[in-house]
Every structure is written in structure tokens, then in C-alpha cells.
Symmetry: C2
Subunit: 203 residues, 2 copies
DNA sequence: CCTACCGATCGGTAGG
DNA sequence: CCTACCGATCGGTAGG
């Protein structure tokens, strides 16, 4: 096979991946704005300038679009966690680094959609995988709380409650933030991290 | 008109109101579990042991069911706020009394539904009224934060951020709490109020 | 309070 | 990547 042939295939695959990404991004935006059930595949296709059947060249079905969006968001969240574990010295440090990354992520199309859109519509197979991944992240943050309690950087709080409490506070950003708001994502993140520090720190 | 006649009418009206209440309660439960769009009027009717057209004797349409549920929840929230203002001495006291009532409310069918279900499906008239009522409550809680800052019971925090932060933390209860969970509503409320106190209190 | 029904929407597919 | 279409669901109504 000539180089040109390989190149052509690679370009085609790359184009396809990029277009798939466009489907997911527009999907995330519309699902977040109108909700999953109130967004039709025609809506997504229209926003991309194609017809509905074309979408099936890039995704298997509507459920897969939402599942992929949430998967990508969860991968980002895991990376934020790894970063926090690598950079932070105390348990408190690590949690705050994580939540700062997470707060900024909640301002992106994927982050917003993943945190806000209900997954009820998905079938059990998809739903279970998402619930499991979320539980894993929840468990990791709880573990950081325990570390922080032991190294003295975090007050003796119930890890379970405070983790739910903080995820709720942060996830809510996806509900009220408009992209055209007055504050930047970083400003919101800073304000929220300061409040999280106050909630967690000893005394 | 005889007494018996008046009594009969009163009974009929009362029965109708009670049945309307049953429609709303079942609606709230199903909307919370499956989402508004994924709950059909047939589902609600079936759960009540009647057929769909019968529902129209008690409510105007599907939108009105959700709007009424949220209105009732917002009325409860306003009452909680009035209670807090009457009982609390400091700004911090008042906010914590309010959020304790609110946290318990979030365990009821109406509270859960109002805090979790998206209102996108409603037409603008309904939606605007809900948004306005929510803004009013938000403004009242912010005012309590300012009071607390002045009387020294609350740290010098940005009232806007901390109010969003706390509402997010509490509203999230409606997302993860199962009625069959290990903790009682009061235990959850106490744990959350303790965290809110830590977030707000000076030092 | 029910039977029967309409009109619209929508996910997905056939076939090219 | 498109035209044309199917089958199912669902809110709401007619008429009793």
C-alpha cells in the first residue's frame, strides 16, 4: 500500500473522529440547555447542518451520545483527581486542587451536561457503568477527606456527608451558570474553593 | 337550600380537592423517579387506579401538575423562611433554622420533585413565575447572610457565592437520597446544618 | 369516570 | 450523506 493510500485512510478516520466530536459537543450543549428528552436528533443534526440519518454514521444511537459525553467528563474528572494526588501535600491541598479543576470543568459543554442531565433515559447497562464510575470518584474524594483528617489539615468531619455536601455545592454550578455570566470560570472556581476550604479546615 | 344539600356540595368539593392532591403527590413521586418527560399521564393514572382522561377532571393539563407541585414546594420554603426570621436571633441562627427546615422538606415528594425536576418543559409563563419565586427566596437568604455579617455571626463572605454554594449542597440531597436510605431525614438535616454552620461561621 | 380516537413528535431504518 | 418512511409513544379531546 502506498503512503498516499495510508494517508488518505488516516485522514478519513481523523475527519470522522473530529465530526463525531462535533456531534458530541453540540449534543452536550443542547442536552444541557433543553434536556435529553426534549432534544431530538433532528435538532442536533440541524445545528450541525446535516440531516438526522447522517448522525448514525458517527454514533450508534441517541443514548450513545449522552453516554459518551458523560464518559469523557468522567475521564476528565479522574485526571483531575490524579493531578490533585500528585501535586497536593496534605489531604486538604489535594481536595482543593481537585475541586478547582472540577469547578472549571463544570463550565465546559461536557462538564455541564454530565453534571446536570438526568441519566434515567439510558438503559441499565449504560446507567450502571456511569453510577459505578461516579461511586469510584466519590470514594476517592472520601479517602482524601480521611487522609486530611489524619494529617490534621481537615476537621474531624464525616467523610460521607462532607463529600456529598461539596459535590452538591459544586455540581449546582452547572444549573445556574450562564456562559454569558459576569464572572469567569476561574473566578467562580476560586470563590467556591475558598468556601470548600472553610467547610473543611480545622477549627 | 337545605343543610344536607350544602353538606353534599362541600363533601364533593372536598373529595375533589383530596383527589387532586393525590394526583399531585403521585405526579411528584413519578416525576422525581423518572423525570417529567419520561412520565406519561397514563403512568400517573395507572398508579391512581383510573384512566388518563379522568385526570383532566382534577387538573388542566400535564404542565399544571408540575407547576402546582413546585408552587406548593415554594410556599413551604417561604414558610420555612418566615419561621426562621421569627425564631432566630442572629443572622447565622436564622439561616440555619431555614436550611434545617429546607433539608427535611427535600425528603418529601413535593420537595424532592421541585428541587430536582427540570422546568424546561413548561411554557414561559409558568417558567417565569417559578424563576421569579426562586430568585425572591435566593434574595432573602442573601439578605440573611448580610445581617449575619453585620451582627458578627457570619464570616465576611460574598453573600451571592455562599448562597448559591449552600443551595447547591442542600438541593443535591434530592438527587442522591433514596427513601430507603440508612439515615433519617432529620439526621441528614442535622449533618448538613452542621456543615453549613462551619462554612458560614467566623474564624 | 370510561372507550375510542386524533395529531404530532421522534428514534431509527431502508435504500440509494 | 440524503429522501422517504415506519412504528411507537403520548398529550389531549369527543362523546357519553
Amino acid at each position: 500500500m502506498s503512503k498516499r493510500w495510508n494517508q488518505a485512510i488516516q485522514d478519513r478516520d481523523e475527519q470522522r473522529l473530529m465530526k463525531r466530536q462535533a456531534v458530541l459537543t453540540i449534543g452536550a450543549r443542547l442536552f444541557h440547555e433543553r434536556g435529553f428528552d426534549r432534544t431530538s436528533l433532528d435538532d442536533i443534526a440541524k445545528a450541525l447542518g446535516v440531516t438526522k440519518p447522517s448522525l448514525y454514521y458517527y454514533v450508534k444511537n441517541k443514548d450513545e451520545i449522552l453516554f459518551e459525553i458523560i464518559s469523557i467528563s468522567l475521564e476528565f474528572t479522574s485526571k483531575a483527581f490524579a493531578l490533585a494526588k500528585g501535586q497536593g501535600r496534605t489531604g486538604l491541598d489535594r481536595i482543593l486542587i481537585f475541586f478547582r479543576e472540577y469547578a472549571v470543568h463544570l463550565h465546559s459543554d461536557f462538564g455541564r451536561c454530565a453534571a446536570r442531565v438526568e441519566i434515567n433515559a439510558l438503559d441499565d447497562k449504560f446507567k450502571d457503568r456511569i453510577v459505578e464510575a461516579r461511586k469510584a470518584i466519590d470514594a476517592e474524594v472520601r479517602a482524601l477527606v480521611s487522609e486530611g483528617r489524619q494529617d490534621g489539615s481537615i476537621a474531624p468531619l464525616d467523610a460521607r456527608w462532607v463529600t456529598f455536601f461539596l459535590f452538591g455545592a459544586f455540581n449546582w454550578i452547572a444549573h445556574w451558570r450562564r456562559s454569558s455570566g459576569p464572572a469567569t470560570p476561574e473566578e467562580v472556581a476560586d470563590a467556591y474553593v475558598a468556601l470548600a476550604r472553610k467547610t473543611l479546615s480545622p477549627q
